[in-house]
Subunit: 256 residues, 2 copies
DNA sequence: TATAATGTTCTATATTATAGCACGATAATG
DNA sequence: CATTATCGTGCTATAATATAGAACATTATA
């Protein structure tokens, strides 16, 4: 019944499973949680109480139910704070220059996770979700990262990929991705013209850490009718310059 | 040596202590962590590996050290997402109207925690830290919350308070706080004129949940020379209207 | 009002976490 | 460059801990 065996510390794992229950639920009760993770309610209660003591969970005294706690939020804000602090001024500068929403993402396996954004103040603008997760192959940020990965790692990623055809433009086989990545390399930046969503276009460039790994990326996203080819090209030059500056601050030394 | 006994699930508690080690450290090694939490390194290793498996921690394969993981970040973004989603449009509207930084905070005991912000785009602006924690007594948001708490709860808070005199204007005794709260009640909004930091002034109003508890607040922060008395009053009327709308969406029904 | 479901406490037992030791690898030191 | 210290990691026996069951109190439901 238990799906993942050979877990190290059982109770810690169970506690984490409990936290993950709240990914799609704002409030849950003890019995409810117990059922979700397959534990006796008294066992669940012990774990929940422990999490509550450190404010990883909070109890709504009126409903008797639990929700994610503030300490979890506070810790979450510390994740990759270095990268975020370095990048934010650049994100703001980009928004100021182009009046389109700017995103900072981090690679996580075959996906990117949206770490930070600065939205344009225009009424028609792209609004991304910080904390959200999207596949590498259908985003400009993802392609910017993939194009700069060592061949072996890229192969690993591609072999484990499953495709969803979000739009008519979505790349949905290895060959067309490789082709697209080739273009990314020669251009020095990545584009996504309605590959994820109709009407949405992006430009992106990768950020390298001091092990020369393209672990993050920045993109500018806007409605396609404003993100013309010329405009994307214009944006890309600033994007490349800024991502290089950020990479430099992270200790990256450009090799030949 | 162990400070808090009668903890429920020991290993879960220890795992949380380990996560908290990273509050002021971007990267830590196994032995280092073991020392910080007072555990044998092999014990610490087991806990750390478990946290790593669910990406609560991540290992930097090059340095061998650990850092906070992306899953923690993702979970953190889910905390109080309801309140945040409801509030953000109002925050943005306020920035647009007054061109000063707007904050959404949550009460946490004797403190407020900054949950969300929308910064002004002016070059001189207030820049707050999401995830940051400040005492109730020296912030407009804190006073907005305190002024609307039941007497008994307020007394509890005040009795447990220790004061730091951040500026000459900082309220640093119970009487002056009570006096200030009286004014907040009659005005319907709270102010902070350089009580936390010289040159910084704020206006704030509370948000009520459907148990009529002032659990959150919104503030507008700017440099004092722009935040004149008249301007603060002007801001306050929008602030009051918006916080009431948000409270309503949360199920709060204004009683007489 | 009766019945069901839920949150919570307590306890004995068996499972689990623990720390000690050992090993290889890496980094610091002389 | 050699030597020594430090670090991360795996294994194992034992002691300590988490666990689920039963029971009760409280709240929700029929």
């Amino acid at each position: 019944m238990a799906s993942s065996e050979n877990v190290k510390i059982q109770s810690v794992n169970r506690a984490i499973q409990i936290l993950l229950c709240f990914e799609n639920n704002e409030e849950l009760g003890v019995t409810e949680i117990g059922k979700m993770v397959g534990l006796h309610k008294s066992t669940a209660f012990g774990l929940i109480s422990t999490l509550e003591m450190s404010k990883m969970l909070e109890k709504n005294e009126n409903s008797g139910k639990y929700r994610l706690g503030l300490e979890l939020f506070r810790l979450g804000t510390k994740v990759n704070s270095n990268l975020r602090h370095i990048s934010i001024p650049y994100l703001e500068q980009l928004v100021k220059m182009y009046q389109e929403t700017v995103n900072l993402v981090l690679r996580d396996g075959n996906s990117v996770i949206y770490l930070e954004k600065v939205e344009s103040s225009r009424s028609m603008r792209i609004s991304t979700t910080v904390g959200g997760k999207l596949p590498l192959y259908c985003t400009a940020v993802g392609k910017a990262i993939m194009a700069n990965l060592p061949q072996s790692e890229l192969n690993n990623i591609l072999s484990g990929m499953t495709f969803t055809k979000y739009t008519n433009n979505t790349l949905h086989d290895t060959n067309s991705i490789l082709e697209s990545l080739e273009k990314v390399r020669s251009n020095g930046y990545a584009e996504d013209v309605e590959e994820l969503e109709t009407g949405l276009s992006c430009v992106a460039a990768p950020i390298f850490n001091h092990f020369s790994s393209p672990f993050a990326a920045i993109s500018v996203s806007g409605p396609t009718f404003r993100m013309t080819e010329d405009f994307r090209k214009e944006i890309s030059s600033a994007l490349i310059q800024y991502t290089q500056e950020i990479s430099g601050k992270l200790g990256y030394i450009k090799s030949l």
